[in-house]
């Protein structure tokens, strides 16, 4: 029992710190990618290749003066970034970060907990993420912040629907809600994207919208809303909001890789490796390679596409993605019926 608790505790700490470190270096990567896509060099002064830049940024964030507006609701003002951070970190729990490690006859799956409704949990926590933004924007008592918060909540509600429908089609195909089982099914090249290309497309578009990334960064668009929901925030509370966005990006990439791109499975040559532990660790490496690729895609898209107009955003969400995802469900059902998987 005690060893079980220790093992879970270690796993929690590892996942927690990995999320934070990846998010930290995502900020660095974002600046580098942005620079490279624009023929610049990006940060290269702090440490070799600017590798210490996130540390410097973090230090700066901590040292900044903390301002809480007089007219704000102080409790909610502090609660906002806490919720944003909390929900961002909570989603990592159900993601299988690798196969099963076996040490001295005990098996240790590299997943904090395998809830049999893991996907439902993911959707639930992700939809809670909007509270952080909404509460923060509302409590700031500032027009820009409020507008940003309103945009964020309507955007997230609109795109959650399509995301849910896309996942329903996936669940119909896999027949399970457990994230581990879904990634177990995708051995070799049997990635879900091959069976659910339309679903994947809808899912990744919604993932961009859910993480408030460009081209869906209306809640925080600098050019029109100053900073959107975090206009009034300063110091590490602002840091938490920005950080939560990067953690969300990391988790979204992890979810995309797990649900549609084979998770921790090695697409080729897996049968050459006989040591199960090596295989499990190599699987994690592959998973992270996929995750990093999708983080890159997130950034790539951000520095390519301009922001949607608000009505375009709503049109895309309600008039295109939701009907498309319903059609996707119908197609999936029809094909499953025709191939005899349901009667």
């Amino acid at each position: 029992m005690l060893s079980f608790v220790i093992y879970k505790l270690i796993l929690v700490i590892v996942v927690f710190s990995v999320s934070l470190v990846v998010a930290m270096y995502s900020t660095y990567a974002e600046r580098k990618v942005a620079a490279f896509l624009q023929d610049r060099l990006g940060p290269n002064r702090a440490g070799p290749y600017g590798l210490l830049q996130p540390v410097a940024d973090g230090l700066k964030m901590f040292m900044k003066e903390e301002i809480i507006p007089d007219v704000s609701n102080k409790w909610l003002f502090i609660l906002g970034p806490c919720i944003a951070m909390l929900t961002a970190l909570m989603t990592g729990v159900v993601i299988p970060w690798g196969g099963v490690l076996s040490i001295k006859g005990h098996s240790f799956p590299m997943q904090i907990t395998d809830i049999n409704i893991g996907i439902l949990y993911l959707l639930g926590v992700v939809s809670m993420g909007v509270y952080g933004i909404m509460i923060g924007g509302w409590a700031s008592n500032n027009k820009y912040a409020l507008l940003g918060a309103i945009r964020a909540s309507s955007q997230m509600i609109s795109y959650e629907l399509a995301m849910g429908f896309a996942i329903i089609a996936l669940v119909m195909h896999t027949g399970t809600l457990s994230v581990r089982e879904i990634s177990e099914m995708q051995t070799g090249w049997h990635w879900n994207i091959i069976y659910q290309p339309l679903g994947f497309l809808i899912f990744i578009i919604c993932a961009f919208a859910e993480t408030n990334r460009a081209p869906f960064d209306l809640p925080e668009c600098e050019s029109e809303l100053v900073g959107g929901y975090h206009t009034e925030y300063s110091s590490m509370k602002l840091g938490f909001y920005l950080f939560a966005e990067y953690i969300n990006m990391f988790i979204s990439s992890a979810v995309i890789s797990t649900l549609y791109f084979g998770g921790y499975h090695i697409p080729f040559g897996a049968h050459f490796i006989h040591n199960a532990n090596v295989l499990a660790i190599l699987g994690s490496v592959f998973l992270f390679a996929k995750i990093f690729f999708f983080i890159f895609v997130f950034m790539w898209v951000r520095w390519t596409l301009p922001r949607f107009r608000y009505d375009q955003l709503m049109n895309l969400g309600w008039k295109i993605l939701i009907p498309l995802s319903l059609i996707n469900i119908a197609i999936t059902g029809t094909i499953m019926y025709l191939t005899g998987r349901i009667h």
Binding site: A35, F36, L37, Q38, W300, V301, T304, L305
Partner: protein
């Protein structure tokens, strides 16, 4: 219609592929990722410096001749030529025993260029009949106050220990022009 350059604008319906928007997105992403591997235009400033044109016009220098005497005779042609009216000077007469300091009987006891007014056009250099003032490839450093941007002789006149090389600005055209016999008296 008057200019005959009006064009009829075709506002045609977008095709299905265009309305899908995805091909356009992928095309855009292809463009941006191609820039990922292109040569970067950034110059890492303190370590690398941008290469200047040979005829770059930067901070002025008041030249001395080879014996160390100031070439400027305070004729004021540079001040007259200056479109920005950045140059002021006070002329003085050379005393006995100052022959090694000043080349001719008259010299500038005060010579000031207001670097905030100067537009670095180089007309002073063109105007100078004594080959005394030149623009160089040195950059005028920025300062925190306006006053220190008025450069006097202490900054402008070159020292004999550290003479300023102005040969890059002496292009063939300039040299040909200066071989004109009117300027023969300027030979070093």
């Amino acid at each position: 219609m008057l200019t005959n350059r009006s064009q009829t604008v075709a506002k045609k319906e977008m095709t299905l592929v265009e309305r899908l928007y995805l091909p356009a997105i992928l095309h855009g992403m292809k463009i941006t990722v191609s820039h990922f591997f292109k040569k970067k235009v950034t110059i890492n400033y303190p370590e690398e410096r941008r290469e200047f044109a040979k005829v770059y016009r930067g901070q002025h220098v008041l030249k001395r001749d080879d014996k160390g005497a100031e070439r400027c005779t305070a004729c004021g042609l540079c001040a007259v030529a200056c479109p920005a009216e950045a140059i002021t000077m006070v002329a003085s007469e050379r005393k006995k025993g100052e022959e090694n300091l000043y080349r001719e009987e008259k010299y500038a006891s005060v010579y000031e260029i207001n670097m905030l007014r100067c537009i670095f056009c180089g007309l002073c250099e063109d105007a100078c009949p004594k080959e005394a003032i030149f623009l160089t490839d040195r950059i005028v450093p920025s300062t925190f106050d306006r006053g220190s941007n008025i450069y006097g002789k202490d900054i402008l006149v070159e020292t004999m220990e550290k003479r300023i090389d102005i040969s890059p600005r002496q292009t063939k055209e300039v040299l040909d022009f200066k071989t004109h016999k009117e300027y023969a008296h300027n030979k070093l």
